[in-house]
């Protein structure tokens, strides 16, 4: 069952504008938050158990508390560079309720003491950029942004920044590089962004959904928020369901809901006559689940981790038996090859190599031993690079090749003779 906390008013068109937003309870939490102690807000967020909704699932309150206690200017960056294949929730949130994000951001900025924030929106989301920009202008006019917000003495400026087509800019340090006007290449850690981020100043990067949720935590209190979800995975989450389901789309559900429930109840199940084959539970980087695994897993950070997969950005891609896993893995590997920033050698060369092997397997130019080689390459790419893109490419490769090995072998047996001799010989 869906719980509409963040998405309560999303069906109303007026919610996009300032007036409609205010009519539906908008900017009612901000005055309350501005009267609180910033530390109290951080404690509240900590207590709520809110975890980053962008993919890594790092506890938000904890992240905020890593900021050094000094008077250096600090930045709040909203990560709206939604690039993970299968994810389209941030776009919905920005287009339907830009003010909800802005309000959440002002509260968060107040909590961490930031005077400047940026919303980094992926370049392709042209409409989102326009909507958010308009909303920011409205908020400035209404006095929610700028100097001395609502007479609290708190100043805050907000701006949007457009990406220009790079998946890697969704990685927080990659995004910071991009915002600094450089190539969007992730930076070495340490130092972590909370210590030295944007322009080498303390910086907090949070996902759209995370920042929007902050508003509801302050509105209802941590305890109320924590009521949704499980013990360690608190709150609600937007899942973007795509692939072979009858009713794809974004659905807000409490964490801990069973995947079966999402696919068969909320999304109306598969098309008639089709059988579930596999599910990618957290965007293309998440290891794939077989049908049996998908039928028993619940959608929270711990259960998925136990299953060897991850919740990621909450993008559920449902794959039925009409699809070839070889084809899907090839598409995925092509994507990571295309998006690798080219900084670290294992990722730069490994993604290219995997992509070529997958292409060869698809075309029947490969042998069975290439499957083992691909697994070996993937293992050597894991945890060897600056950012997690290398892992993101390696994890699906390993899971696809291990869990659906027989399908790959059958594909090779079927196709390996059609091409005649090739350069392997």
């Amino acid at each position: 069952m869906e719980i509409k906390l963040l998405t309560e008013h999303y069906s109303k068109n007026e919610f996009q504008g300032l007036d409609g937003y205010k009519k539906n309870g908008g900017y009612a939490v901000l005055p309350k938050a501005l009267k609180m102690e910033p530390k109290a807000i951080i404690e509240e967020v900590k207590a709520s158990g809110l975890r980053g909704r962008g993919g890594a699932g790092f506890p938000t309150g904890m992240k905020w508390s890593f900021l050094p206690a000094n008077n250096e200017p600090r930045y709040l960056l909203c990560n709206a560079d939604e690039g993970e294949p299968g994810t389209f929730k941030d776009r919905l949130m920005m287009e339907r309720a830009p003010h909800q994000l802005i309000e959440g951001m002002i509260i968060s900025a107040f909590a961490i003491g930031s005077k400047k924030s940026y919303i980094y929106i992926r370049g392709e989301y042209d409409y989102s950029k326009a909507v958010v920009k308009k909303a920011i202008d409205e908020a400035y006019k209404a006095g929610f942004l700028g100097k001395n917000i609502l007479g609290s003495g708190f100043d805050h400026d907000m701006d949007i920044y457009s990406g220009a087509g790079a998946y890697i800019c969704g990685e927080e340090t990659g995004m910071i590089s991009s915002l600094e006007g450089l190539k969007g290449q992730p930076k070495l850690k340490p130092p972590f962004p909370a210590v030295q981020g944007y322009l080498r100043k303390p910086t907090i990067v949070n996902n759209v959904e995370t920042l929007a949720a902050v508003k509801y935590i302050i509105r209802d209190g941590a305890a109320a928020y924590k009521k949704h979800g499980t013990e360690k995975s608190a709150g609600t989450k937007l899942f973007s369901v795509s692939g072979n389901v009858v009713k794809p789309g974004n659905f807000e559900v409490p964490l801990g809901i069973s995947l079966k429930d999402i696919i068969f109840n909320i999304c109306g199940g598969l098309k008639p006559g089709r059988k579930l084959k596999a599910v990618i539970p957290g965007g293309s980087s998440a290891p794939v689940l077989t049908e049996a695994e998908a039928m028993k897993v619940t959608m929270d950070y711990e259960a998925l981790a136990q299953m060897g997969s991850m919740l990621g950005s909450g993008a559920i891609i449902v794959i039925d038996d009409s699809n070839s896993m070889v084809d899907i893995l090839q598409t995925t590997m092509h994507f990571y090859h295309h998006e690798s920033c080219g900084q670290c050698t294992p990722c730069r060369e490994g993604t290219g190599w995997l992509s070529k092997i997958m292409h060869d397997i698809l075309d029947g130019h490969a042998e069975v031993k290439d499957i083992d080689l691909a697994i070996k390459i993937s293992q050597q790419m894991m945890g060897k690079t600056i950012c997690a893109l290398s892992d993101a490419a390696a994890m699906p490769a390993i899971s696809f090749l291990q869990k659906f090995r027989s399908e790959f072998e059958q594909h090779l047996a079927k196709t390996s003779h059609k091409s005649g001799d090739h350069h392997h010989a």
């Binding site: 080219g342 294992p346 730069r348 060897k384």
Partner: protein, 523 residues
């Protein structure tokens, strides 16, 4: 000073240093490409992986600071496998054109693969094709396929030369180093990018294809290009010098040197050199043995002093000789000849104090400071006496000075006023010109002239005093013209003494030719 244990060996390193520096300090091997001590940390080659006790994941040594009591190793099977695969990742798209690659023999990929490699290449797919033979500028050629994108050269132009010509364009395995059309890699430090390139992607136009590096030997020396006195190593073989590379010295030049300094091997090679003593004037030159030329010149000098007094001779010195040589020649001149008529020939007085902010200085002599000090010590004169040229000029015009003894510039290109000054000095009845190279203006001499070949900086031991007053001594590297004299030897011969000819180094034989064949007669 934290103490760490590296592969079981305890080392103490300065606080704040990284693990890779601790490895270097402990003298242990660690595989790496992108890290360079003179540049910022990029951490992209992912080869300096080490295992630290208490950390689940491998860490890169170049970006991890040492902490007291860290236990580090890079010999565990896990690290070894990672490095092997890391090297394989570097090599899968690297062309196997070592035969035509100039880096072969001093290539990071070759050396480190031999030491740490997997020896089992599994890449069967086609390699990524990139651009080859790209002209980056007047000095450097790029081969993108060979590039392993360590970004050292880009960091160099960003951080050291601050000229920002280079960038890495595109992304993933399509990335290529390059310049933007209209802004080539054209600065006085461009060739350092070639030095720091761990593979053969960047090659020097000057050195490219001229020698295989395994035929070359190396000798340490001091660059004579300017008063900075960069520490260098010179590559040579029996045919002569081929290139100059910087040698690390934190106090003087760091890891770098300028492109101008790299040219200071050209005047050392045989083609530019004076090979025998020459006595006479225009159209009547006579080649004589070097020792005879020096002895007869000495005789002439001493006779002149006897006849016309000590002021009838003059000594002109340039700042391109060693401190020891200055002492000897000044001892001869002020002691034996009892003359104080010594002049310091400073080539470009108006530019002496120029400095480009990094290394290159306007004073294009390696030992101006040393010469000034030597002149002061000998009691001849003090300070740069460019102003005193008028005195010499008037003395020459009035024929008061009859014989001028000159230790001319070794690197003639640094003296823009060379020909003009030679003509002026030729006003003397006799000019005794000692230098390493030949000179066309000198060959047109109208008056009696001695030309005595001297040795260059690489052929002798000695010391230079650089602009900081730092005395840097160096050893003889190789011998190009064995018969040439050092200024000290010349001073001995000029004063009528002999030198121990047995102690002098022999030449290295000259260019390799199949000469024995052509000398065999017809049957």
């Amino acid at each position: 000073m934290p103490k760490v244990k590296i592969n079981g060996k305890e080392v103490e390193v300065a606080a704040g240093s990284t693990i890779i520096q601790a490895f270097k300090a402990s003298g242990q091997e660690i595989c790496h490409y992108c890290w360079h001590p003179g540049l910022s940390v990029a951490g992209v080659c992912r080869l300096c992986m080490v295992q630290i006790e208490g950390m689940p994941k491998l860490q890169i040594a170049c970006n991890t600071e040492v902490k007291e009591g860290m236990v580090i190793n890079n010999t565990s099977p896990m690290v070894k496998e990672t490095v092997q695969w890391g090297l394989d990742f570097h090599l899968i798209n690297h062309p196997l054109d070592c035969p035509i690659c100039d880096q072969a023999g001093e290539c990071g990929l070759q050396d480190q693969y031999m030491q740490f490699g997997k020896y089992d290449p599994q890449m069967a797919e086609a390699k990524v094709k990139k651009h080859k033979v790209i002209d980056l500028g007047p000095t450097v050629v790029l081969d993108s396929e060979r590039c392993i994108l360590c970004s050292r050269c880009v960091r160099f132009t960003d951080e050291v030369s601050k000229t920002n010509e280079l960038g890495i364009f595109n992304r993933g395995d399509r990335s290529e180093i390059g310049c933007v059309e209209g802004k080539p890699l054209n600065n006085n430090y461009s060739l350092n990018t070639v030095d720091i390139c761990p593979v053969g992607a960047l090659t020097s136009k000057d050195f490219r294809f001229r020698q295989r590096v395994w035929y070359l030997k190396e000798a340490d020396s001091i660059c004579p290009g300017c008063s900075t006195g960069c520490n260098v190593k010179v590559s040579y073989n029996e045919e002569g010098l081929w290139r100059i590379k910087p040698r690390e010295n934190k106090e003087v030049n760091g890891h770098w040197m300028c492109d101008t300094g790299r040219d200071s091997y050209k005047f050392v090679n045989l083609k530019a050199r004076l090979l025998a003593g020459k006595i006479g004037k225009r159209d009547s030159w006579q080649d004589v043995a070097v020792a005879d030329a020096a002895r007869s010149a000495g005789l002439k000098l001493r006779e002149t002093v006897e006849k016309h007094g000590a002021d009838s001779v003059a000594l002109v010195l340039t700042g391109q000789y060693t401190n020891e040589e200055y002492a000897d020649i000044l001892k001869f001149f002020t002691g034996t000849l009892k003359s104080k008529n010594v002049y310091h020939w400073l080539n470009n007085p108006e530019k002496v104090n120029e400095f480009d902010g990094l290394l290159f200085r306007g004073d294009r002599n390696p030992n101006t400071k040393g010469l000034e000090a030597a002149m002061k010590n000998s009691g001849a004169a003090a300070g740069p006496t460019s102003g005193k040229w008028e005195t010499l000029q008037s003395q020459l015009a009035s024929k008061k000075v009859k014989v001028v003894l000159v230790a001319g510039p070794e690197n003639q290109a640094t003296f823009p006023d060379l020909n003009e000054k030679i003509k002026m000095l030729q006003q003397a009845e006799t000019l005794v010109w000692m230098t390493a190279g030949h000179n066309a203006t000198l060959d047109q001499a109208g008056s009696e002239t001695w030309q005595i070949p001297l040795k260059t900086y690489i052929e002798k031991a000695g010391s230079f005093t650089n602009f900081q007053g730092k005395v840097q001594s160096f050893k003889a590297g190789t011998t190009i013209v064995p018969q040439a004299l050092t200024l000290s030897e010349a001073a001995m011969l000029l004063s009528g003494h002999d030198i121990d000819w047995n102690l002098r180094p022999k030449g290295l034989g000259g260019p390799k030719t199949n000469y024995s064949i052509t000398q065999r007669g017809t049957l």
